[in-house]
Symmetry: C3
Subunit: 478 residues, 3 copies
């Protein structure tokens, strides 16, 4: 009965823009894909000729069989992992899982084009040739934007999300090009490229969109028992499949093998220190679901760069050990500080789960790279791991460490500057963002059956009560 | 306290039949498997000799490694995907996920036999040799029956479901034999064989079992907040793993690779147009969870036939674009029309998710096949893709397009005629189907704790209220 | 407002112990991993040299590609499968999924060390070399402890769980060494090593920790509608991925292929007989969710040993047929008997899901091994399947059958004796176990929003009622 939108004009604009956005965008994608995107030689029917030409003896050597299982795991992380991780709010689960679905589907198409133009445009034909590795990279690119979504969850409209993603994917492709191609830094699991960038991008946007009166929607900000269990679905699928995330695009053979082992170990270690700190933080020694849902994942983020290196099993455990501590401490001490002092409202605490661990991951990567040696890696192993070929064949591991560190700075700069610009665009009063009192409420954007209608036992409440309820509602409306 | 069954006699019959059905059937399966089913040469201990004989150098060339990851994804789609997609009803989630579990486990055994007899019975030994591809095909066959379940969800007894599945699998094996073997049509992801057949089979059964007084269970027909989120688990696992579904039994190498890429792209496109139409359909611009849960999947259905063809990436996007529009429109306009005018009650809207997109998929497949050319596919690529070998080595692509279209007609005819016959059998008053007022209610078939007992805070309602509740209940009983 | 801990002193001890335990343990792990654990030759950068040395032509022959998809499925079973299967209790879902997460992460690190010392310590270097198979084995080892957790779910503190796991993993590694290495029994899916051991270990601990006044927490012992659906997530992921569980470490090629087929068939059969018996057990013919959630999995347990043998497809169906019956009967008849007569309180009914089916699996394995013949397996096939090489090259199948049976006895003895010892340790009054009236209640160990706060519609309850509620609460406090 009450108007859900603060500003009638905004809501009209918003409705127009949303449909148009999806339609126009999808038509543009079809045209651009028609012009640019083609199957690569491993997914084209001419594969039979490629095989003969390259003396490939078996279909099993098609890259599909090296990467498809990892791709599917990553795909689950993007859609179920990120989607359900954000369902913890008591009345924003539709928005969490539904807008995550929309944004990811939207972003991955644009990512295929942007990453194609920057990384794999064939100069002769002017085409982008895609295969399973392109799909993984598109999912990775989208992950950066979904991380940013975590900071503004419940406070922005779907159109704002789509705009955030449009610019986010664009910025991602550029910083990725600079870090991986120009600086020739290694970042297979994206500590820098995905998590640091995505984290600071989202935090800066949230800072620009600061809402001083957000406590007006306080009653919507908590979780309920079942929404916390839904969120654990997201946590666990992210946690379990993170070894696939960090190994999905590493080298065939030992590269994928080692990245999976390192991530598996690192994450196990993170769980223990997360539990320890969470329990220490409460006088009663009780555990906080927020920490279990989020900080347990920090180890995977922090091993994104170094997972494919010879960091050794105990090295992976050490990284996880500290990440669990730092991330949980972040939820306890840093998040309140960010909100009060720096005016950064971070709904999901992405600073603790992505930004900080991402930076740690960049540093770990730089140190591990600088410390690499032929005695540990072997001559050819060192070349393979750091791709010291072509223009970079004379690079030393120390130089590599320096470029790794430079890469991390690039990702922070892109996140902060990009976030500031995009945040300013999103502040324009044309996007139909929800009023402060409607934040974290699915009813603004979804057809939701009212709680009163939901609970069947309400039917048995006697008429006198129904009447009273009705009176109270009426009074609230006045 | 009230009798849940309209007819005491039915309920007795039903109880007898249900146990007997499961036991007798399982014993029959054991006997038939004993007579007919054996391991194929890749899953038999004699594989070591096969390897030596065929000069296979590595165990990795066993078909298991080409198809097992896809198989597991398909398996998840059947049991978690279909099962949870149907949990959206507020009080039929046990039935959705539980009967889906029962029906699929029952059907896949019968499917291995039926498909074996029709497709792979060894003429010399009279045996059926099974491997991982047989398991995928059995899961596919069961999918057809689970689609049909969607139309009658909440309105039939478990025994009716088992009978539906028994006949459904049988019909499936026959139409599949006609379409794939006799007509030599291609249909790797089953747009025709699985979705069109399953859709019309279920719709026709639902038409025969029309319940004019179904509004007596109106209070049970909606969803509640958490049941909609459970349904999203089903949606997402179907959506994410659909590339595996469409590529699971395509050719090794580029065939699987291309089918996965096409499906991935098509589904992303579907999400955007589904959101656009869903939002357009409401004055407020709000989204409807029903559309997001179902129509986002239509693209995967519609690419079932053409996924392995060189439809090209933008072609996949175009298919997804239109499927999202048509499927969502279906929920808004066609479903109410079907119910009012044609008397087809379609609980899950399978007409919009499977039947229509399936037909579109058949048409897309026929056109794409007819338009195939040696310049695009390459000489050998064309032969491989359409299997122009043996009896079919002189077939042209135009002829192939015609046979594809013929295949689609076969699947529709089998669905409608089969559904009419099976529906008539299910109308016999011996199956213990629930009364109109007990539809969509788990309590008929499951031990369920009453809602009153569930909510702990009820304990704190003061005695005066408890008393009133009790009075009201008593009055209702009278 | 009331003190949740019976004994103030215990609670203090518990708080101290819990943090310390996690920290000290994780630091110990880092040190031990630093001393002992290294990458194996397939996950080390020297793989490029190994390949050249061993004439391996392609990276795809790295063990990673044989086992990683199965590993990820097993990983999902451990964390989502076991975790969500135990969420059925109305107010212990945090504990179920959260402590499962903690215990598994804790146990797998210790498992890598213990299994490494016993199975793969390199005598020359004194190092343990790990690869993807080691990760699978660590997950398997943890599974044994999670099974035991099922028996004591809701009745022990997290520290008790960690102690149980610490000893459980240790015992597991020893019995596994005796059964697989000394007795040279085959047990790829762990009917004996994992399920029988884990089952009896947990049951014996539960027996030692018998709580005569457990009915004081009776109001917490049931499930609610949504918690039962959460549990079905666990059930289905266990059920679907069990073929991967039983085939994860079997022989490359036909071994993995056959184990997956057998388990797939066996589980399908189990579902039908479970439904039949569950329905038969109620006068009304209704189904019980407890049976569907648990007994449907018994077939996978019982085929753990024989899955890789030539048990033949109908053999797998027969095993599933009887396991569904026996396991469901167990829930109906044996569990109440165990509780009343033997004083074993088994929260999740692991006796019916793991212990009994595990013993059946051991017997099936022994019989199938003893009945193996060269005519069925082929000469080389027999040697490969039972690994009749080295010291065991002259072993006959009959002898093998005997050793299989001996292996099963070892697993039972380790479970019972180990459980008795560990149970006695856990009875010491220093672990902060919950009081009888606080069992099955998340509030003891987790920050939980109160149910009253959760339900928004409570807000609309008129003041008079709120007051009454308050009065009643006060009275209860007195």
């Amino acid at each position: 009965t009450t108007d859900l939108f603060k500003n009638e004009k905004n809501s009209t604009n918003y409705i127009l823009t949303k449909h148009t956005f999806c339609f126009v965008w999808q038509i543009a994608m079809i045209i651009l894909f028609g012009v640019f995107i083609r199957y690569d030689e491993e997914s084209d029917t001419h594969w039979v000729e490629t095989k003969a030409h390259d003396n490939i003896t078996s279909d099993i050597e098609n890259d599909f069989y090296f990467r498809y299982p990892s791709f599917q795991d990553v795909h689950v992380m993007i859609f179920v992992g990120f989607g359900f991780l954000m369902t913890f709010l008591k009345r924003y689960s539709f928005g969490a899982v539904g807008f995550n679905f929309l944004v990811a589907s939207f972003g991955l198409q644009w990512a295929l084009l942007m990453q194609g133009w920057f990384h794999s445009l064939d100069p002769q034909t002017g085409k982008i040739f895609i295969g399973v590795e392109s799909l993984i990279n598109a999912d990775f690119c989208v992950a950066g934007c979904l991380i940013a979504y975590g900071a503004v969850l419940g406070k922005v409209s779907p159109v704002q999300l789509l705009v955030m993603t449009l610019f986010g994917v664009t910025l991602f492709a550029v910083e990725e090009y600079i870090i991986l191609n120009l600086l020739h830094a290694r970042d297979a699991g994206g500590s820098m490229v995905i998590h640091t960038f995505g984290g600071y991008y989202g935090l800066t946007i949230s800072w620009v969109l600061y809402r001083p009166n957000l406590n007006q929607s306080k009653r919507m900000q908590g979780s309920v028992y079942h929404s916390d269990i839904f969120a654990m679905i997201g946590t666990l699928f992210l946690w379990m499949f993170w070894p696939s995330f960090n190994s999905a695009i590493t080298d065939h053979g030992d590269g994928q093998h080692r990245a999976a082992i390192n991530t598996y170990l690192c994450l196990a270690s993170t769980v223990l220190t997360t539990v320890a700190i969470s329990s220490l933080s409460q006088k009663t020694g009780k555990l906080d679901m927020v920490h279990i849902q989020n900080s347990t994942l920090a180890g995977g983020v922090a091993l994104g760069t170094a997972a494919e290196f010879m960091i050794s099993p105990y090295g992976a455990l050490i990284v996880g050990f500290f990440c669990g501590i730092i991330s949980t401490m972040g939820y306890i001490f840093i998040s309140p500080f960010l909100e009060k002092t720096l005016k950064i409202q971070d709904t999901c605490g992405i600073h603790n789960l992505h930004a900080m661990p991402g930076v740690i991951g960049g540093i770990v990567g730089a140190i591990t790279a600088a410390a690499a040696s032929e005695s540990v890696y072997g001559k050819q192993g060192l070349i393979n791991t750091f791709d010291f070929t072509g223009d970079f064949k004379d690079r030393t591991v120390l130089t590599q460490g320096g470029y790794q560190a430079a890469g991390m700075c690039v990702s922070i700069v892109f996140g902060v500057v990009g976030g500031a610009i995009v945040g300013s665009i999103l502040r324009l009063p044309i996007w139909g963002d929800p009023a402060d009192e409607n934040c974290f409420d699915d009813e603004v954007y979804w057809e939701v059956s009212l709680p009163d209608e939901e609970e069947e036992h309400q039917e048995s409440i006697p008429p006198i009560l129904e009447y009273n309820n009705h009176m109270i509602h009426k009074q609230q409306d006045l």
